[in-house]
Amino acid sequence: METKALKKAMMTSISEILETMFFMPLEFSENEDLTTIGDSSEEPLLAVALKFEGPISGQFMAVIPNSLAKTLSANLLGLESDQVERAHVEATLREMINMTAGKTFSLYDSQSVFKLDIPEMIDAQMVLGDASSQPTAEIVVVVDTEEASLGFKLIKVD
């Protein structure tokens, strides 16, 4: 029940944030395999993570192809794509995961306070592979956009 409610909150949050802040229409994929992200191209994947503590604790992560990350950055910051630099992309991804996590938890449990750490860029393999800690639950959401797919993963740790 908790996992179902969390996933619903994640999906609502992702949808609202990508559409409102990044002007990015999306569809949710039935596929929950993050290793398919960026499968069809050779381009690098970027990943960002944020630790959280509250009634549930764990890590909120996202993995995204570099080109889609640049598009999101251009949309958020109002830049042309050739003006987008690595610092813009990283700042955008940090803000994306921060907003997505915050909105997810406020939708999931508006009575409780969740403490969010400062987001950090991580190696994409940390999202695609097994978590180093022992998760007690894992929720994966894969999002399709016109340009490419990106994925979100929430791992709950006791």
């Binding site: 910051l77 700042a91 921060n98 969010l116 400062i118």
Partner: protein, 142 residues
């Protein structure tokens, strides 16, 4: 009247988004200043004339609530309204913002219309096509 605004956020992206949104939403802005945390914000507030502060809650060094606490200790700075910008939307957290003295809060994601409405209300500016200022704020009721 145009208002000088100080945006306080450790995120380069969010500072840029807030700046752009405030400029395009129709709120009457003068100078828009930026600071990356509460410490930088206090320095900027002492060096510049600022009418309104938009402060992120979750920042390193000095968070948004600590910034409000510091501003309340100064007679001049205590009069400047602070809008807390946050991803955290729990009722307990929002209540804490308001109890500490925030004029209002803005939860991400936000639209330009939401920003304009809140900032105009706080600064006593009339809404478009409505010269009256409504008292209170539905967002603040629990």
């Amino acid at each position: 009247m145009a208002f000088n605004v100080l945006i306080v956020d450790d995120s380069l992206a969010m500072r840029s988004v807030l700046k752009k949104t405030i400029q395009m939403c129709g709120f009457k802005t003068g100078q828009i200043l930026e600071a990356a945390n509460g410490v930088e914000a206090l320095k900027s507030l002492k060096e510049n004339w600022v009418d309104l502060v938009l402060a992120d809650y979750n920042m390193p060094q000095m968070d948004g609530l600590q910034l409000i606490e510091e501003m309340k200790k100064d007679e001049l700075l205590s009069k400047i309204p602070v809008v807390m910008v946050t991803t955290e939307g729990s009722e307990k957290q929002v209540r804490a913002f308001l109890e500490k003295g925030a004029a209002d809060y803005l939860q991400k994601p936000f639209t330009p219309e939401q920003i304009k409405t809140k900032l105009n209300r706080i600064m006593g500016e009339p809404e478009d096509g409505d010269e009256s200022i409504e008292e209170g704020d539905d967002d603040l009721d629990f």
